[in-house]
Amino acid sequence: MDASRRLPSLVMAWRNLWRNRLRTILAALGIVIGVIAIAGLGITGSALRYGTAQQFSDITNQATVMPGEDAEQRYLTESQVQSIRGVASNATVIPVKQGRVTISSHTGESYASVDQVTKPRELYSAHKGTIPQPFRTGVLINNETAAYLNVTIGDLIIVGDQSYKVRAIISDGGIGYRDSRVVVSPPALSKQGYSSVMIIAEDGDAAQYLANATKDHFNTEGEVVRTSSYGGLNQRVGSLFSTLNLVLLGIGSISLVVAGVSILNVMLMSTIERRSEIGVLRAVGVRRKDVLRMILAEATLLGVIGGAVGAVLSAGIGALLYDTLYSDPLLVFRWASARYLIVGFCFGAFASVLSGIYPAWKAANKRPVEAIRS
């Protein structure tokens, strides 16, 4: 009774909901489902985005600098590479020399495109063996080349006119890695200059920034260098997923609208059923605003309970999803996902309160003399 002295509307609301438990549960179930639709779809979207971002993060932090349309030579000179190192002093700068030479073993021979770098570990991934760093002497080949030349790690092959020891078998491309057949240490290629320079920065934004800074440095008159980077990709992927999430949230909202309508229906029915009870309250001096509060409190309780249950279930579903996709259920509590639990809860509670307004207003303004006529 002490509680009802302080919050009589809430206590009455609670007891009225309890009185019709089954109806209350069914009405709240609508909200639960609506919240799961919103939060579940939002979390699904953010889980997919998380995985994609993970995959892309390896390439998005790279930028490639190549000779441009107005370059004097069709390669980057040693001094240009030094300038790039100056611009991108915080990033890893790897000049790549590329050329076509003959490669051979005692079983086969081929004319192949060959990369020559000093720091291969950032650019290639090892399929077998380890990529030495720094790369003083040796050669890395891909599976296909290894099969064709019938060699394995530790064997010697001839690149150009010198023989090198195979240090590792590299994967074919893969996200974030160059797709090369043969990578050799200097000084295998005799040609002048570099075909490209790789800049490996902290993240996508930094890579984009350094690419732009490099262009600004060289391209004062004409396109001396051109660059390619994936900085924009990050943003495009981001906006793609934002759109996807909006669509998913929109679909989720529809089910909340349905839940809201069902609450409206339930509240209207229950206020009509309690017409004479409410009429008596009004007759004995309970104010209209207190009746309004009481009915709104019922709708709010329905929304808060339904929303809370929905949020908890959504967290469970999200945890299951993250566990399946990335074997880490706790990822659901990342803000990017967890916020959809809050969004779902708020939408659920809001839809319920909104649906309670009309029945509450109607009940409060019913003339008591009509309500108690027997």
Partner: protein
């Protein structure tokens, strides 16, 4: 002095083109400590009169004065305020709230007023109407007569000046009705309240100090 005073009250209802006067130029007063019985055939306007006295309905013409104040033109919230402070209601169908215990039901008229705590008075009133051992019973655990006594306690909780009862014994047998009327008479004297009660049966008129008869909305 009169608690309530009706002067030339007319209440008309229109039903299509047809117009009926449920009350036609009725004057009516009740004083403190007085019990008035309102009698008359069915449809004569008794309930309508009681609703006007109880500020549940407003007259088409005429004035209503409560405790010396003209309340005819008060708005909904003003009327609600006066009902809460000055008027107690007892209904034929009891109209208790099933979600509340007896004590809580008695407290309902003061429940939303955080400045007062009427729990002690509610319990005291229930004891006085002989329900000291039924304080925490819900309405569905009470008999008709017990429910009506809870309703009487509820009508008294805010120390009203007048109690209005529409056929308070209508749903009760002769003996139970008599105990309810004894209760009302005793409380009328103890609390010095006015009582206006609508009735069909002659039993109630025996308890009343005065009887007012209505026929077709006109006082006899």
């Amino acid at each position: 002095m009169s608690v309530i005073e009706l002067d030339g009250v007319v209440k008309r209802y229109t039903n299509g083109d047809e117009e009926i006067a449920a009350l036609d130029d009725v004057d009516f007063t009740v004083n403190r400590g007085e019990m008035v019985a309102i009698v008359g055939p069915s449809g004569s306007g008794k309930s309508t009169l009681l609703n006007v006295i109880g500020l549940l309905d407003t007259p088409t013409e005429g004035t209503v004065t409560l405790d010396g104040r003209d309340v005819t033109d008060l708005g909904t919230d003003g009327l609600t305020e006066h009902r809460r402070e000055s008027i107690g209601f007892v209904f034929q169908a009891y109209h208790l709230l099933p979600i509340f215990t007896a004590v809580e039901n008695v407290q309902v008229p003061s429940m939303w007023d955080s400045t007062v705590d009427r729990k002690d008075r509610a319990e005291d009133l229930l004891r006085r109407v002989g329900l000291g051992d039924r304080l925490t019973h819900k309405p569905n655990q009470l008999s008709g007569g017990q429910k009506q006594r809870v309703a009487i306690a509820r009508a008294l909780v805010n120390e009203p000046h007048i109690i209005l009862a529409d056929e308070p014994t209508g749903n009760l047998d002769q003996d139970t009705g008599a105990t309810i009327l004894d209760e009302l008479t005793r409380i009328k004297n103890e609390e010095n309240v006015a009582i206006a009660a609508v009735t069909h049966d002659t039993q109630l008129t025996d308890y009343a100090d005065r009887t007012v008869e209505l026929v077709d909305g006109v006082r006899r």
